[in-house]
Subunit: 393 residues, 2 copies
């Protein structure tokens, strides 16, 4: 089977937009055992891309466009539920080539379409990610599974690790997995800053058993460096662990500037756990909101083990939280000194059992620094929660 992904968009060719759709769809398809053979980006010239594409394709295939009552009703509902007026011109979005399957759009107006053309299928999806992604999951995956019932059965699992580099992860697991690779296991690595995903794939008979054995080996080699499976993010794991224990969290962020709070609050349900996040950039804010001692700031400097400790303990006390996580460092590019160069950072975690402080050196550009530091801080919290006795257990 060949799968070709066609992206339309002049803004992609001009480099104004990053093609995140190609990655997302590639990944989703791979999760279901389909691999894209070729990806093409072509220009579009119309502002109304989805409508124009739908019409051009109908023309190319010699199909006439017909109004679809279900799509029209869906578009009308979209507008009335948002208390917006539906322009007459919007009705063009309810035109569908004859014989096409309509994929409902629950988050927008342009529907998706699937058409059988000879022995091929053409599937058309809308551009906005918040429309494309649910449509892919809810309509495209079930359709593909139905269209290709006899494709080779496929199994995969992804284990996500934190705290080890890619080569370190590979060194640690590849030798023990060698016999399974010889039996057909496929092994892939995907590295982000401070996080490495290990992807295990197998096809045909015995695939589930092969994957199960592989997961066992990876888990026994990498132990607590594995924080989750599949798409689960570190921040979601941390929130889940705290919610299970009915424990609360406060944050005191200096150099990460609110990124840890932003990550945690991307997860629905964060409000049950996160009491407050204090982004204390200025020294006066560290003093005022966290009770950091002016003398400590003067004697040790804002980027120091002592200030990190006082920030965490102050945040825990002020917010009345079970845990408080604090971060202070030199994000750069300015502000580094010989003793504390750009990239120096202290992480502190205060809990019922006391306070731990870790020093890291993350000498990268500002955004990478923030990303890596936020991940290290969340991981410090995760390890401490797991090491503590679960008060609910």
């Amino acid at each position: 089977m060949n799968i070709e992904l066609i992206n339309t968009g002049s803004e992609l060719l001009l480099g104004r937009t990053l093609n995140t759709h190609a990655q997302w769809l590639g990944r989703q398809l791979a999760e279901h055992g389909f691999v894209i053979t070729r990806q093409v980006t072509v220009a579009d010239t119309s502002a109304e891309i989805d409508d124009a594409t739908r019409e051009s394709i109908a023309k190319l295939l010699g199909k006439t466009m017909r109004p679809d009552a279900t799509v029209l009703a869906q578009i009308e509902k979209y507008f009335t539920s948002r208390k917006r007026v539906m322009l007459e011109s919007m009705k063009v979005q309810a035109l569908v080539p004859e014989g096409a399957l309509v994929l409902p759009n629950l988050h927008g107006t342009a529907p998706g379409l699937a058409m059988e053309v000879g022995d091929k299928w053409l599937i058309m999806l809308p551009g906005p990610p918040r429309e494309l992604k649910p449509m892919f999951a809810e309509s495209v995956v079930p359709l593909l599974v139905r269209i290709f019932p006899d494709r080779e059965e496929f199994a995969s699992r992804t284990l996500r690790t934190v705290g080890l580099g890619e080569s370190r992860v590979e060194e640690q697991i590849a030798p023990s997995l060698q016999p399974l690779v010889a039996r057909g296991l496929t092994l892939g690595y995907c590295a982000h800053m401070g996080q490495v995903d290990v992807r295990l794939e197998a096809r045909g008979a015995g695939r589930e058993e092969l994957i199960r054995e592989a997961v066992g080996i990876v888990r026994s080699e990498l132990r607590e460096n594995i924080f989750g499976e599949g798409d689960e993010e570190l921040e979601a794991v941390v929130l889940r662990l705290l919610a299970e224990r009915q424990q609360t969290l406060a944050l005191a962020e200096s150099c990460t500037g609110g990124l840890i709070a932003h990550r945690l609050t991307n997860i629905s349900g964060a409000s049950a756990v996160l009491i407050a996040g204090l982004v204390t950039y200025a020294n006066e804010a560290k003093q005022k909101f966290l009770g950091v001692d002016l003398e400590t700031l003067a004697a040790r400097g804002a980027v120091s083990e002592a200030v990190a400790r006082e920030m965490a303990e102050g945040a825990r006390h002020e917010a009345g939280a079970d845990y408080a996580l604090a971060v202070t460092g030199v994000a750069g590019p300015a502000g580094g000194t010989a003793a504390k160069p750009v990239g120096t950072v202290f992480l502190a975690l205060a809990g019922a059992g006391g306070t731990v402080v870790e020093k890291k050196f993350n000498a990268f550009d500002r955004e990478t620094f923030k990303e890596l530091t936020a991940r290290q801080a969340l991981d410090l919290l995760r390890r401490e929660i797991l090491a503590a006795k679960n008060p609910q257990a």
Copy 2:
């Protein structure tokens, strides 16, 4: 002229890697007046991609591979300067198809190649960004300029707007720009959530004048909806305006959960302006850190005009800042009511001249909600700063 960009990489098709090269090259080419016509990604099967690709292409074109002394010397130098041993097998990287121009690689071992094939040119670049990017700037751009000496000269400018939808921006400027489009102006739009970029391009003689006229028209039509030019982000503009006025800022974020603080602190120099960001998710945190009245919370609810106002005024007072920006809303998917459905949000800005509160309705998924709300809040601040008298002027 047609330009086709071919990316090789199975990891791109599997979605393990995001194709940032395509965006970077598209943008670089556009900056020099070249536009990619089509971009294709194909799989590769070899670990030694660059070598295999070079060899396959030579074969395809019927060219023999010959060792190139300059490339060999470059590779040897690369290894000795890093005190590493050069393996005999590395010498394959010095093989070059006959007749090819060698593009030196100053940051790695595999050279770039440029070959004239009939009336076309084939340019091959290495994969790692730190090798590709300098090679493109230092070798490819001069080569393209030399190959296409009589291409039309090119000029472009991008104006960035906030607060209007794409169709609204288009309605407002397209009619007045029509005569300039007839004279050769190219007009492009790129929409993000709540932000629309207008790109103006012109070629040939009179291009600078055409762009200047177009910028004048767009500015007079869209006025204060234009926040910047080129790549400048809204948060950078806000920071610049405050720094110029020697004014400071505090944030009180509920539903944006730290995203506004994160955006602002991505900019180097944020520490001179941002005193503190308070992510007050829990009601107790709103009360404790911002002094929001318990009675107001009980009577009006956390998502209300009154609480937004008290959050902004409390943050301004507590942090001792010139301005304080506050956000409270229902990000969803849970937490909506009939009176305050998911998407309801109040923005408040407290300053020396008083407090303004705006109500918005951003009914999107959680992450889009946060992104749009953060942009609206930053824009409220930008407009208020511009409307106030500059104390430094």
